[in-house]
């Protein structure tokens, strides 16, 4: 794999995104370094999921720049600041380096677990079928679901589906993994099994960006925590500092509401 060690894995520069008249991202800039786990928290509608989707170009940014290992994603900005959209093939190639796991799992319901995991490596990266099968088995061992390899997604619990979705994203051997509120749609009892897999990935050194409402998990697993509101970074730093001593009134209010909602 072609790695560029001195470069941030993700570099976001002055990112803007609008939905019609609504400004969702208002000039966000940050880096994610190799092996770093960045957790993003914020109230509903703050732009955290939109920001994450921009990192995989599932949402197209209206301004600013995203670089994945130094390579621009989606648009190239020319010297005169005009933006040129990349070709579909180029965007697809960059996307395959960035694994994404969604809130609603989004497994392919017409294919069994094995095919869900091997489909993209075979069709996108042209991996040989037996090699893709072996990797699928290894990944299912890792997420603890090898016995479900021939099941269809409809036969799995939410937690199991989400673990398969993680294995599916990992099968593309991405350089960075994005997690978009991956436990929000799960029964509280099933949250733990998904978080364990994510924790394991973090310990293995995977670069991760996690949008989450699981404060304890964000505290325990991330190296850096970012609080965003109205499409802006309000505060960022070490998780323990941010969560224990929030500097901004907005984060204090958010954490206060969050804590009282569990009393």
């Amino acid at each position: 794999m072609n790695t560029k060690p001195d470069m941030p894995m993700i570099c976001v520069k002055d990112l803007y995104k609008n939905f019609g008249d609504l400004s969702v991202l208002n000039g966000m800039s940050f880096n994610v370094n190799r092996g770093e786990v960045l957790a993003i928290i914020g109230p509903s509608g703050s732009g955290k999921s939109t920001m994450l989707r921009c990192l995989n170009f599932l949402e197209e940014h209206d301004g600013g720049e995203i670089l994945i290992e130094g390579e621009p994603l989606g648009y190239r900005v020319l010297e005169d600041q005009t933006r040129v959209r990349q070709s579909e093939a180029e965007i697809a190639r960059l996307r395959s380096n960035v694994g994404m796991v969604f809130q609603s799992f989004n497994l392919f319901p017409h294919r069994n677990v094995r095919d869900n995991i091997t489909m993209a490596p075979i069709s996108v990266k042209h991996v040989a079928k037996n090699e893709a099968d072996q990797r699928a088995e290894m990944l299912l061992e890792k997420v603890g679901l090898i016995e479900k390899i021939n099941e269809f997604p409809s036969r799995l619990s939410g937690g199991q589906q989400q673990r398969v979705a993680i294995a599916r994203a990992l099968a593309m051997e991405p350089k960075v993994m994005l997690f978009d509120e991956v436990t929000s749609a799960l029964d509280p009892e099933l949250v733990g099994e998904v978080l364990t897999v994510m924790q394991q990935l973090a310990e293995e050194g995977m670069t991760m960006v996690i949008v989450t409402h699981e404060m304890q998990f964000a505290h325990d697993v991330s190296n850096r925590l970012m609080f965003i509101d109205s499409g802006k970074i309000i505060e960022e730093g070490a998780p323990a500092d941010i969560l224990r001593n929030p500097a901004s009134a907005r984060l204090q209010e958010f954490l206060h509401r969050f804590r009282t909602s569990f009393l």
Binding site: L58, F102, S104, N106, F108, A120, V124, S154
Partner: protein, 215 residues
């Protein structure tokens, strides 16, 4: 009681073969055309999708019999001489295609956006997404309405007798005029039409089962 029907059965079966041929050509090609146009319409936009919509709305809003009259009488006037059967098959193709276009377009558009996001997120491009994610799910959804449409169009082949193209219904009318046994003959013709349409239903059920993923 059915001796008149039985003695004329070979003649009626010849008509049935002609009906099957009209159905295979008209409905088969029309369905293929509709599937193609429906997928293109759902995946593209602008002028292409707009032109396909104009085709669907124009053809669907006019009875198939009128299209048959049009192609039967108008084509020779325009100097296109292709034979009566081909003229009505053209009308059947046009009409089937319009309905199937909407079935296919609807099935493709009904695939949840999250499925597309997942495929894109894995680095798939349009063609791969279409082949591996969208079409397999769309096919499952479109089998029942496609069958419905095919059965309707097989029965619509009976209209071609009005413009003088020989097939099962036309043959039955000839036999009735000769024998005056309308009840027997048309009861028998009902049975033949049913026997043509029933295998279609069986075939569709098999297809549904094959592509079903709710195990």
């Amino acid at each position: 009681m059915f001796d008149v029907f039985l003695s004329n059965l070979p003649y009626l079966l010849k008509g049935a073969v002609q009906t099957i041929w009209l159905a295979l050509a008209g409905v088969g090609v029309g369905t293929a055309l509709g599937l193609f146009l429906g997928i293109i319409s759902a995946m593209s936009g602008g002028l292409i999708a707009g032109s396909i919509t104009v085709y669907v709305f124009t053809v669907r809003g006019i009875p198939v019999l009128v299209w048959m009259f049009l192609s039967y009488y108008m084509l020779p006037q325009l100097g296109v001489v292709i034979g009566d059967s081909y003229a009505v098959i053209g009308a059947l193709i046009l009409y089937t295609g319009a309905f199937v276009t909407e079935i296919a377009r609807g099935a493709v558009l009904s695939i949840p956006k999250q499925q597309i996001d997942a495929a894109k997120g894995l680095g798939m491009q349009k063609y791969g997404m279409l082949r591996l994610v969208i079409l397999p799910q769309a096919i499952t959804m479109s089998v029942p309405p496609l069958l419905n449409n095919s059965v309707m169009m097989v029965k619509a082949t009976a209209y071609v007798s009005v413009v003088g193209v020989w097939e099962l219904t036309y043959a039955a009318r000839e036999v009735v005029e000769r024998t005056l046994a309308a009840f027997q003959i048309f009861l028998g013709v009902m049975l033949i039409y049913f026997l043509i349409c029933y295998p279609l239903s069986i075939f569709a059920r098999r297809l549904e089962r094959r592509y079903s993923y709710e195990h």
